[in-house]
């Protein structure tokens, strides 16, 4: 066993960990960044199949800023990381749809168009909607000491029409709730502002553009991410963290550790024997099918960028009883951002999925697991035919990932993309001095949220008081 000593350790090179590491390095701290996987990105990483470059997840970057605007969350992040906005090469969405059986709402990066759409579809409820909007505008969703309370109760105190409530919640839940059918109100406001007020864009080059900007910044500051290096244990002595053990048998002494791997995932590193109850593990996991087609989606019949599809009167955001829920999905056409630089058509379908069913099948019988992925692809193709009138169902290539893929590559228990419903908003583990949490289970989600979390927690606990040492 070898040993070494550093000032700070960041566990995980996802969006939260990378942003945190940049801040520490900017302040001249000696930091060790460890990542289990062989590449960075975490839940929003990338891979290659054949000649094609794939993104994990990335439908869209939320919190789009428009030219001339100032002071938005995304500006704050870029300022803190000192990365110029232009470098993200953002291409805005055309429009997105919330498609329910009876009604369809449309939104763009101009919030007025969403108001207009609600006005048309729900003329009797528009005033109630606008009073909710006022309440949201005045709410400080990022305060680290906000209490947890459920959003649907708050929204129902403004809006009476349940159908409208279901439609408003649909994109916000599936893009960022760790709870079934509801979400914490602060998180609701984060999502509402980032999706409806600010909107969607995609960096040219996809998630690689974002990750490359972050890793290049780390390099320029003299930092280094150690890949294929997992923390196997966080070592604690007398209620304070004193180091970590790595999978290569190295002991690293350190009294400041920031974990981005999740609440219970971190607690398990402190105590590998820890039992995590079912209800504390997030239940929301997904499959995603990606199809590559010769024709682009607009030729196949749709100019929409993202379609939040739901075929029931209400929206069931929950772990389905079946392998996937085939009555709802998020469909993304990356070609339909304003600046399409891709040669082929890309169709992505994300479905809610049952982690345990996938896990049991995967461990029992590899062949049936692969067969099940084929079935999901076929179901997703049928859905796409519904949304794209000219689509025959033919494609050049496809890839499907399942909830077990998510756990394998990111370590999130239960394949829970949005982590556990037990968030630790303060980012502190009160039992263990020097150990902090950022990212998914601190409560700020998505690419922008995770970066903001990494920055805020690092500033608060590592830089604010430590700037004089």
């Amino acid at each position: 066993m070898t040993s070494q000593k550093v000032d700070y350790i960041v566990i995980g090179a996802g969006m939260a960990g990378l942003a945190s590491a940049i801040r520490l390095l900017m302040f001249g701290k000696k930091v060790l960044i460890v990542e289990k996987h062989s590449i960075p990105g975490g839940l929003n990483s990338y891979y290659k199949r054949g000649k094609r470059e794939f993104d994990v997840g990335l439908h869209a970057l939320t919190n789009t800023v428009k030219p001339g605007e100032k002071g938005k969350p995304f500006h704050k992040i870029l300022k803190q990381l000192r990365i110029p906005l232009e470098n993200f090469e953002l291409s805005p969405q055309s429009y997105s749809l919330i498609k329910f059986p009876d009604k369809t709402l449309k939104f763009t990066n101009d919030f007025n168009e969403f108001i207009e759409s609600i006005h048309q579809q729900f003329p009797n409820d528009i005033d109630q909607f606008l009073s909710l909007v006022e309440h949201i505008k005045n709410f400080n969703e990022v305060a680290l000491d906000n209490e947890t309370f459920m959003a649907k109760d708050v929204v129902r105190s403004f809006i009476k029409n349940e159908s409208l409530i279901e439609m408003i919640f649909c994109p916000l839940l599936i893009y960022g709730s760790a709870w079934e059918n509801d979400m914490d109100f602060s998180q609701f406001v984060v999502m509402f502002k980032s999706i409806y007020f600010e909107g969607f864009a995609r960096p040219n080059g996809g998630v690689r553009t974002i990750i490359n900007l972050l890793t290049a910044k780390i390099e320029s500051l003299g930092g280094e991410v150690r890949y294929k290096t997992a923390v196997t244990k966080i070592i604690e002595q007398n209620g304070a963290v004193c180091g970590v053990l790595l999978n290569n048998e190295t002991l690293v002494e350190c009294s400041n550790v920031l974990s981005t791997v999740g609440n219970f995932e971190t607690k398990k590193l402190l105590n590998p024997e820890l039992f995590v109850a079912e209800e504390n593990i997030g239940k929301l996991s997904f499959t995603e099918s990606i199809f590559i087609t010769k024709e682009k989606p607009h030729t196949l019949g749709s100019d929409a960028t993202i379609i939040f599809y739901n075929n029931r009167p209400n929206y069931l955001y929950r772990c389905p009883q079946t392998f996937i829920d085939n009555q709802s999905a998020v469909v993304c056409f990356p070609n339909n951002f304003k600046n399409d630089q891709m040669d082929e058509g890309w169709l992505r379908v994300t479905s809610m999925a049952n982690f345990n069913l996938w896990k049991n099948l995967n461990s029992a019988d590899k062949k049936s697991y692969l067969q099940k992925k084929e079935e999901v692809a076929s179901e997703n193709i049928e859905l796409l035919k519904n949304l794209l009138p000219e689509f025959s169902g033919d494609y050049l290539f496809k890839d499907v990932f399942s909830p077990t893929t998510i756990t394998r590559y990111t370590g999130h228990l239960g394949g829970a993309v949005y982590g556990s419903p037990d968030k630790i908003r303060s980012g502190k583990f009160p039992e263990t001095k020097g150990l902090y949490l950022a990212g998914t289970d601190q409560g700020f989600l998505g690419i922008v949220g995770a970066m903001l979390s990494g920055i805020s927690i690092t500033n608060l606990y590592f830089l604010q008081n430590g700037s004089n040492e």
């Binding site: 900017m26 302040f27 001249g28 100032k70 002071g71 500006h75 704050k76 870029l78 300022k79 803190q80 000192r82 110029p84 906005l85 920055i455 805020s456 500033n459 830089l463 604010q464 008081n465 700037s467 004089n468």
Partner: protein
């Protein structure tokens, strides 16, 4: 060494602010108005100003003195003796 005057200290501070508030025009800063109201700066960014003062000029600003950095004028007044130490 000659002591730095108001304008010289101001230039040092301005250079730091310009690097932090990347998207702002810093040429029009009014010295007697709050910086955070003229520029897109919040409390997190003041942390960076303090860090840069230390990195570039070896000047320490303890946390209780952060309010001294509110306007350009108060910055320069507070920092001039530190620059000239």
């Amino acid at each position: 060494m000659a002591e730095l005057n108001y304008d010289q200290v101001r230039t040092h501070v301005l250079n730091i602010i310009a690097d932090i508030a990347l998207d702002d025009d810093v040429t029009s800063i009014k010295d007697d108005l709050l910086l955070r109201e003229q520029l897109d700066l919040d409390s997190m960014d003041f942390l960076d100003i303090v860090m840069e003062l230390k990195k570039r000029h070896k000047i320490e600003v303890p946390q209780e003195d952060y309010p001294q950095l509110a306007t350009m004028q108060s910055c320069v007044t507070y920092l001039t003796p530190k620059f000239n130490q």
